[in-house]
Symmetry: D2
Subunit: 167 residues, 4 copies
């Protein structure tokens, strides 16, 4: 039985449709609910909710909070998944990598182009992939989406294609 | 084998999530795709696409277009379903009722609070109900949603509750 | 607020896939769980579990139990839906019709060709339709499936087509 | 752009519910349809259909056919996923391992406890995981399911738990 810590920060993957506003918004956390749809008999998943924000609104203070949480769990070698908005996912990833020396566990950033539970969503695919990546990748900061694993300094978002590409 | 004409005008029921804008928008028609998920062996469904608009943007010219289409099919006694945004659904319904004398077929307005294919959507339920209502209701203009059938002059939208209520 | 009683007897609509046996079986009731996926704000649904059987195994004693339950609720004019296996659905329906004189509420039999929650299932469509049919049909014994409502003496199952047809 | 070959042999993951027999059977291939639900922009997936069998019916001649297909693609270093029934998945895996010397690519066996598209199915999760595992694991024969990756000689099926466990 291995432990994986899932750090939730918001982003498109967790957005919900508001019937009152007609917009998609970060109102309630969705990660726990969708994790229950996966079978994880050999894995203890611990979710940590830090914030629930569109990643365009993330500040350096928010990134510092993420960093502290990662540091805390990395000390014991626990693999981590961070769910995050795609617009500044690489920014947060590089922020972490620059401040985490001698990292002893993989830290895998993931998110979605379409919210969990919406038709054609990539959210559950990315969550599934990042949990497996957290188990088998070497220590380091990674981004996992759409059946691809990128070292955090080799990846950028292509907005028109609505996906991440190698840089 | 009975024919039902489904007149598509847009509204929340047909909205899609745009990965480029992060908003839900009326970009592509969705009714045909979701009708294929229903079993309708004794029914010939003919869909007519008139427009794909948020109902707050519907004009009287749009309503006139709907009216003409309804008149055309009502002449032969063909039951009709109209998919429509909820914000002005009753307005369009009353517009039709006031101009359709001696209606010989049921005209059933429906829509959704959450777009088809989004988690917890009521779209397919409402589509299913309105197709059955079109088969068994008496001639007249009706609104069918959430297991309730309202004569068009007895119903109003309650925005906070996100549903229609008797008036 | 109207009450509808849903009487559950089993059948394909409630079958589940057993990972131990590799077969689909009537193990746990499914109707309540799927009813929660529908929006029924103006309706009080009361489910009554009588049995959970493949309808080929239903006996006349089982039909008598159904009859007693229907009688009890029909006295107050409460509409009813009966979920039932398709193989003997018409047999049970005729059994009820022959023994219910002066019926004051609609009794709507329904079921499914593929269990609720399996890909391409017709279960939720049929459940949705039968709940609406229960609200708007005249008193009598009916069968509602696949956007069609049949008087119970005018319908038979076509096994090859996997649906009900007019007789 | 990397290529992954997906070799389809049947098993529970591909079973469908037959409305005529009321049983789940290996009638039509399902892997291609479900692969289309995943986003694989950096991956070229080539599916190869060898058979569509319950794995209890697989013969050594069938395993020889799988072996030949694996050999053909392994020569070029192409990672492979094999979808397979769970009852004899380890048997096929060991058969391959014993006959593949100097394997230059990962070969990942996967399957499902509940067929793709049935409620609570683990099929899409396992397919997602095995495709990622095929990209990042070292050469060798592996089994990937339920967020766990096992070397083929360290795993056995636990029928009561309906999952694979370490041995």
């Amino acid at each position: 039985m291995r432990t994986i810590v899932v750090i939730c920060t918001g982003g498109t993957i967790e957005k919900v449709y508001s019937e009152q506003s007609g917009r998609v918004e970060n109102l309630d956390g969705k990660i726990d609910g969708y994790l229950r749809m996966l079978r994880l008999p050999e894995t203890r998943v611990v979710t940590v909710r830090l914030m629930n924000k569109d990643s365009l609104e993330m500040t350096d203070a928010d990134r510092e909070t993420v960093l502290e949480t990662v540091r805390e769990h990395a000390a014991g070698g626990t693999p981590m998944v961070i769910t995050h908005g795609t617009d500044t996912m690489t920014e947060t990833g590089l922020y972490l990598r620059d401040r985490l020396e001698g990292l002893r566990a993989p830290v895998v950033l993931t998110g979605a182009m379409t919210p969990l539970g919406f038709e054609r969503s990539d959210g559950l695919q990315n969550l599934t992939e990042s949990l497996l990546a957290a188990k088998i990748l070497a220590p380091g900061v990674w981004l996992a989406m759409h059946n691809e694993v990128f070292p955090i300094d080799k990846v950028r978002k292509d907005r028109e294609l609505a996906r991440f590409v190698w840089k």
